[in-house]
């Protein structure tokens, strides 16, 4: 302070305060500068086109009446198809301002959807997995769908595949409109299968049903590839291991794993042990590698001809197709015959997150959008998903879509994840059961110990206080 330049004489001498010192920026000036900056920023945001949405988020104002916000978790091939389906809607409904947001698949997506709905600012329409619907309904996050409203837009029960439609209801009340079923299926290389003598006259795969027939077929393929018969993801992919276990367990008539929305454990440990024992056979008899990477490693084995078969979800069809190899697909074989045919599956569905008011929901605009999505099911089917919309599923175009139509029958055996607050796509249940299954699959745990472990871990989960 001492070396400061003496202030110039003030034109208006003040008896109390010394004249203001020139170098200190006045508060008013700082404030003005900040405001100017803020204004520039706001203008820039508005110019960028997201201004009103951002502003609406902060101020809590109602969204514009012609806007429809749609959230989905689709990236990659699925994302491209979803964008094409949105374009179809945009072309037909020029007056609607459709804004779609894509979030990372899995729990980050569900967290955002939950928080936005709780915060009273949900999208009008959102995508969800049917396995997640019971929990979302229990938490009170979804709007009920009334048949009269749906019928106004041509959405009637008789035009849907029965299983996903059934699964869209919670205690008899409809909460979702299913768009597909995506089962766990079998991919195979036709060139390898042919050399292994596994093809019938029409180029279709010979009968693989039964525990021994399937392994024998993979052994024959192994002789051709010189490496492995089949492959399945096991490293960093508890969900895939869960799907194989769940398919086999349900084929054995094991019933559900938990009941009462996850509060009671009803797992049949004998059936679980038998299913796990079969998974162990695959690696013990060395037809399937015990360690294949979940991030594309298992698919690479098929694509590079190091395996003749691949057990995975239908959504990988584009990843295999891009390798430009000769391949085909079919439902997962019927390994056990104790119960009706079963394979693990889930469905994507469109839901209306509970909006704070009818005005914010814009029911008819939302349903019109859903109807448009259903009519574009043929686009969606190309990504591997079996359409739930029967007019598309029964259409000639779909029946001629190869290999997508070759496994459509798998949807009839679709079994969904157990309904529990800790269950569903990418859930803790898939993680713990999948981990136990992987441990048996790689040979670290015996099948009976693995089945015991599944029951023990499920009991721990069931005992936890539910967040819904």
């Amino acid at each position: 302070m001492r070396d400061r330049i003496p202030p110039p004489p003030s034109p208006v001498p003040s008896p109390v305060l010394p004249p203001a010192l020139p170098p200190a920026p006045s508060r008013r000036r700082v404030l003005r500068g900040t405001l100017a900056l803020g204004a520039t920023g706001a203008t820039a945001l508005a110019a960028a086109g997201c201004g009103s949405t951002v502003a609406q988020g902060f101020t809590g104002g109602a969204p514009e009446p012609d806007r429809l916000n749609f959230w989905n978790p689709f990236t990659g091939g699925d994302g491209e198809r979803m964008l094409a389906m949105q374009d179809v809607f945009r072309t037909a409904h020029r007056s609607v301002d459709l804004r779609s947001a894509t979030f990372l698949w899995g729990n980050p997506y569900y967290t955002k959807l939950t928080l936005a709905t709780l915060g009273g600012r949900p999208p009008q329409v959102a995508v969800t997995h049917l396995s997640k619907v019971p929990t979302l309904v229990e938490a009170g996050l979804l709007s009920e769908l009334h048949s009269a409203d749906l019928a106004r837009h041509g959405i009637t029960p008789d035009r849907f595949d029965a299983r996903p439609w059934q699964k869209s209801q919670v205690e008899g009340v409809l909460h979702a409109v299913p768009i597909d079923t995506h089962p766990f299926v079998l991919y195979f290389r036709t060139d390898i299968a042919e050399k292994a003598g596994l093809l019938d006259g029409q180029g279709r795969l010979a009968d693989l049903d039964g525990p021994d027939a399937f392994i024998d077929a993979m052994r024959a393929a192994k002789e051709v590839t010189g490496a492995w018969g089949g492959s399945i993801a096991s490293v960093k992919d508890a969900s895939t291991q869960f799907r194989l276990f769940w398919s086999l367990y349900r084929q054995l008539g094991g019933g559900d794993l938990v009941a009462d929305r996850g509060r009671r454990v009803v797992v049949d440990t004998a059936a679980a042990a038998e299913a796990l024992a079969y998974m162990r056979r695959l690696t013990h008899e060395k037809v399937v590698p015990p360690a294949a990477d979940g991030q594309g490693g298992a698919i690479t084995l098929l694509n590079t001809g190091k395996a003749g078969f691949l057990m995975d979800g239908v959504w990988q069809v584009l990843a295999v197709k891009s390798a430009k190899v000769k391949f085909d697909m079919r439902p997962l074989p019927r390994i056990f015959t104790d119960a009706p045919y079963a394979c693990a599956a889930d469905s994507h569905a469109l839901v209306l997150p509970k909006a704070p008011s009818a005005k914010a929901q814009r029911l008819d605009m939302s349903l019109e959008f859903i109807a448009s999505m259903l009519h574009s099911s043929n686009l969606w089917a190309e990504g591997g998903h079996v359409p739930a919309w029967l007019p598309t599923q029964r259409s000639r175009t779909y029946r001629e879509l190869v290999p997508q139509s070759h496994y459509a029958a798998a949807a009839d055996g679709a079994v969904y994840d157990p309904a529990a607050w800790y269950g569903g796509a990418g859930s803790t249940l898939q993680q713990v059961v999948g981990d136990a299954a992987t441990s048996v699959f790689t040979g670290a745990t015996s099948p009976t110990a693995g089945a015991e472990r599944i029951r023990r871990e499920l009991r721990e989960l069931a005992a936890r206080p539910a967040p819904v």
């Binding site: 302070m1 490293v235 190091k306 967040p467 819904v468």
Partner: protein, 302 residues
């Protein structure tokens, strides 16, 4: 104030508020994004707060704490975190010191070594994870091919074998983050005065003796800093593990932060997750304080 009567008293409003005014933006962020959430976490830890319901939920008292302390998974993830910390801190301190000493000896081309060792640090964790997932991939990855060509019959599944997964992640982490410690050590080395080197050389100390008896002890403060920063960073590990193994195989690499993430965001049990995060906070605080206390005592003895 009495001593400055000769000058106009510094009582103008601009002066009095200049300091706090400049602090204000940061203080606001600190309150809103650090103190606020911390208070919320402390409060939520006493409630059955759920992600799927609004509000704090039912009062739970100390039951969350009892549940966490009795949860074997909490102790296991804490064990994994500490194991990762030990596995990474030791090489990250020793190797970066060694590399800095070597790079410092180059007169020509020193920039190249500085750049080469620091370069991986600028990569985002996602890129590093992806890179190493390609290297470690089973059946098709580089690391297994190299091991096979070196004569290993059945190379381990680097990320799929519980005995190897943590080590594999450690190797990736060391490669990725060593640059930061390396730069800190280089800066420390530049503060060692030339005269000390010369004096030691005149006294007949060889290069190795000069490093061991002169340079390394003079880097003591840098070492303290590097170690503390590294320990704290390692205790907070999440992203590369989440991306490379997802905590598997069989939970063998799952760190505490992932337990917090899983219970909070996957299961929606925010109250429980808050309790776990507070306990982890206490652990990190405790480790840092113990370390500082030890260093201070060592410095006093010197």
């Amino acid at each position: 104030m009495a001593t400055t009567t000769a000058l106009p008293p510094p009582s103008s409003r601009g002066d009095r508020w200049a300091g706090p005014g400049m602090l204000l933006p940061f203080a606001l962020f600190y309150l809103v994004f650090l103190v606020g959430p911390l208070v919320y976490a402390v409060v939520a830890g006493f409630f059955g707060t759920s992600l799927l319901r609004s509000g704090l939920g039912d009062f739970a008292g100390w039951s969350n704490y009892a549940a966490v302390l009795g949860d074997s998974e909490f102790w296991r993830t804490l064990g994994n975190t500490l194991w990762f910390t030990v596995l990474t801190t030791v090489p990250l301190v020793l190797l970066s010191l060694a590399l800095a000493l070597l790079a410092d000896r180059f007169v020509r081309g020193r920039w190249f070594f500085r750049f080469a060792f620091f370069a991986p640090f600028v990569l985002p964790s996602a890129v590093v994870s992806l890179l190493f997932m390609f290297i470690y991939a089973d059946q098709v990855g580089l690391a297994q091919s190299v091991a096979t060509s070196l004569g290993v019959d059945s190379p381990p599944s680097w990320l799929g074998d519980p005995d190897w997964a943590m080590v594999s992640i450690t190797v990736a982490t060391v490669w990725w983050t060593i640059g930061f410690n390396f730069v800190l050590y280089l800066a420390g080395l530049q503060e060692v005065p030339r005269e000390v080197h010369e004096a030691a050389a005149v006294d007949g100390a060889g290069p190795w003796q000069r490093i061991r008896l002169v340079v390394v002890p003079m880097l003591g403060r840098t070492t303290t800093l590097v170690t503390v920063l590294q320990v704290i960073a390692s205790l907070k590990v999440f992203d590369q593990i989440y991306m490379m193994t997802g905590g598997g195989p069989d939970g063998s690499t799952r760190p505490s932060l992932q337990l917090i993430y899983d219970t909070g965001f996957v299961e929606g049990r925010v109250g429980y997750a808050s309790t776990v995060s507070l306990l982890l906070f206490v652990v990190i605080l405790f480790v840092s304080l113990v370390w500082f206390a030890l260093v201070r005592r060592a410095e006093k003895e010197n």
